[in-house]
């Protein structure tokens, strides 16, 4: 990393660590939401931007993790670490299963299959009432506390918990995409046939990326369950999957900063819009259309274009 890039990153990090205590409560909750969705969007970008696989069912892993946390905390009083590990493992397991079905397909077929698989999870959340409470959702998920008397119940400590998770996810993903494995993924995105001819196991690379991506989505989902205190089928709906795609597309696929920016814009846009108007869904829809018409390469792509 060059100095020119390190300085803004350090400034952002300092701001993220130092500013929260001075923020008004509502701004703080928005910032926490942005961090959680940034993890979710980055996890999707590992597939979409780096491997070239557009998943339309990414909410499945986010939602599974959220439901695992919800069920374990409300019905079994499980500890934070147990919930976190179980949630991420569950997301990995579902990704490993779905990956077997989906990875065989490419392009639009991959889109359609992941859409259908994502809706399986939605259907289970919606119909398996004895486990998930169906459409009513599971409420009363208490914020976690660590054994050493640390409680994350209040907004500020919880924000720092999310920040730590975000920084870990960002660091790990940055390592992954720069590793030989990550570079091979980008090779597959550019030319699958050539990578195969060079002797790479394309299927295995995609499959591992699929599971890793599910794991990070699971981390975001677990945090979201704690943040919101409530989990419902909305979390696993197609809408959530597409929203994650929009975050990545808006920010700029194939970068880690892009999804973070995209998550920030979408979370702010949705929250502020729903305060001022009841027709926020209509405006959100128009926003989707406008993004594609105006900035098809995303914010990062547009900035790069402007610099040249």
């Amino acid at each position: 990393m060059t100095w020119r890039r390190a300085i803004p990153v350090a400034a952002c990090a300092a701001l993220l660590v130092g500013a929260p205590p001075f923020l008004p409560p509502y701004a703080l909750t928005l910032l926490t939401q942005i961090l959680i969705f940034a993890i979710f969007a980055m996890s999707l970008d590992l597939l979409l931007g780096y491997t070239g696989l557009a998943s339309l069912g990414h909410a499945a892993y986010f939602g599974i993790a959220a439901y695992v946390v919800a069920i374990l905390t409300t019905q079994h009083q499980a500890s934070f670490w147990a919930c976190l590990v179980a949630a991420i493992l569950a997301a990995c397991a579902v990704a490993a299963l779905f990956g077997l079905v989906a990875i065989r397909a490419t392009g639009v077929y991959f889109l359609m299959i992941t859409l259908a698989l994502g809706m399986v999870i939605w259907g289970l959340a919606f119909r398996w009432v004895s486990l998930t409470m169906g459409d009513n959702g599971i409420s009363g998920i208490a914020r976690p506390s660590l054994s050493a008397g640390w409680s994350f119940a209040r907004p500020l400590p919880f924000h720092y918990l999310s920040l730590v998770a975000f920084l870990i996810a960002f660091g790990l993903l940055a390592l992954i995409v720069r590793s030989p494995f990550g570079l091979s993924l980008q090779g597959i995105r550019e030319s699958e046939r050539r990578m195969r001819a060079l002797g790479y196991d394309v299927w295995l690379h995609k499959y591992v990326a699929f599971i890793l991506s599910g794991a990070f989505a699971g981390l975001a989902g677990a945090l979201w369950a704690y943040y919101d205190g409530f989990v419902s089928p909305v979390e696993v709906h197609l809408l959530t999957s597409v929203e994650a795609l929009l975050m990545v597309a808006l920010g700029g696929p194939g970068t880690l900063v892009g999804p973070i920016l995209g998550a920030g814009v979408i979370v702010l846009f949705k929250n502020l819009l729903s305060i001022y108007t009841k027709r926020w869904l209509l405006i959100l829809g128009l926003f989707y259309i406008a993004v594609i018409v105006i900035a098809p390469k995303g914010i990062v792509g547009a900035l790069r274009g402007a610099r040249r």
């Binding site: 077997l100 359609m112 809706m119 259907g123 119909r127 795609l245 209509l282």
Partner: protein, 284 residues
């Protein structure tokens, strides 16, 4: 026995409804390779327009016609003005059609409100007869008849007319079709409008049966996708088999394992795909 017959009849009639929904998606997909997330919205809007038409004119045929035609125009506008620029870019297509789906959903809520509605069907179709142990509703028979008629017309159109031959050629290889002088952009616009027409027709028919309500659009959308995926993309026989299979699986699944109903629907789909990734009737 009564249980099995009843569920089988319900499944077949639901499959007929899914055929109306899925055939349009399959055609559009075959010709344009577009993943259209607004396809369920056509179904919803068709139902809403049909509802208004029936309450204003008391005429059921007019509702079918106005619902299907108005939504076909919407589809044509979407294709001409927006989707046209996004050929072969699946991610922007997905996001843009999702934008339209949200806009349609909210407009539906704005105009027709949040309550569920059921379309008043003609008295003749509202009856039912007892055939052996099974109650046969005329309306379900009517749905099967509509779907069969549409299927027959589509088959004749695709197999026996020049335009149909052009569509089949485009499904097989769009670039070659363009090369031999088929006007693919014009054909795409027509097929897109036809797809919207069929989905909206399904929506009006479905409005007398499952009703119209906010959220219906995204509820039927995955069914349309599963029908098309199971049958194979861009294949008419595939849609017929796919919709019957999905209709039956859904009804039996819901009756036998109510809590796992979606799973019983999607698990076989995953299985079919694992064995034959292009669907039952799909070609590479």
């Amino acid at each position: 026995m009564e249980f099995w017959l009843t569920q089988a009849f319900n499944g077949i009639s639901y499959g007929a409804l899914l055929f109306l929904l899925g055939s349009g998606l399959s055609l559009v997909f075959g010709v344009m390779r577009i993943v259209n997330l607004a396809h369920g919205s056509y179904f919803l809007l068709g139902g809403y327009v049909g509802l208004t038409a029936v309450s204003r004119t008391k005429s059921f045929p007019l509702a079918l016609l106005s619902g299907a035609l108005s939504v076909a125009l919407i589809g044509l506008g979407m294709e001409r003005l927006f989707l046209r620029r996004l050929i072969k870019q699946s991610l922007p297509q997905v996001l843009m059609t999702m934008g339209f789906a949200l806009v349609f959903q909210d407009l539906g809520l704005l105009v027709w409100g949040g309550d569920p509605h059921t379309l008043a069907v003609p008295a003749l179709l509202a009856r039912s007869v007892q055939a052996g142990p099974v109650f046969v509703s005329f309306y379900r028979l009517f749905i099967i008849a509509v779907a069969s008629a549409v299927g027959l017309v589509l088959w004749v159109f695709l197999e026996k007319t020049r335009a149909g031959a052009c569509i089949r050629a485009t499904v097989d290889d769009a670039e070659m079709a363009q090369g031999v002088g088929i006007n693919v952009p014009l054909l795409s616009a027509g097929v897109f409008a036809l797809g919207a027409f069929l989905a909206a027709l399904g929506g009006v028919v479905g409005a007398g049966f499952i009703g119209v309500y906010p959220g219906l659009d995204f509820e039927v959308l995955p069914y349309a996708f599963v029908v098309v995926i199971v049958g194979g993309l861009g294949s008419l026989p595939g849609v017929i088999v796919g919709s019957l299979l999905v209709g039956l699986l859904d009804k039996f699944g819901k009756a036998l394992f109510p809590e796992l109903s979606y799973f019983t629907l999607f698990a076989p789909m995953a299985l079919i795909l694992a064995l034959k990734p292009t669907g039952l009737f799909g070609k590479r």
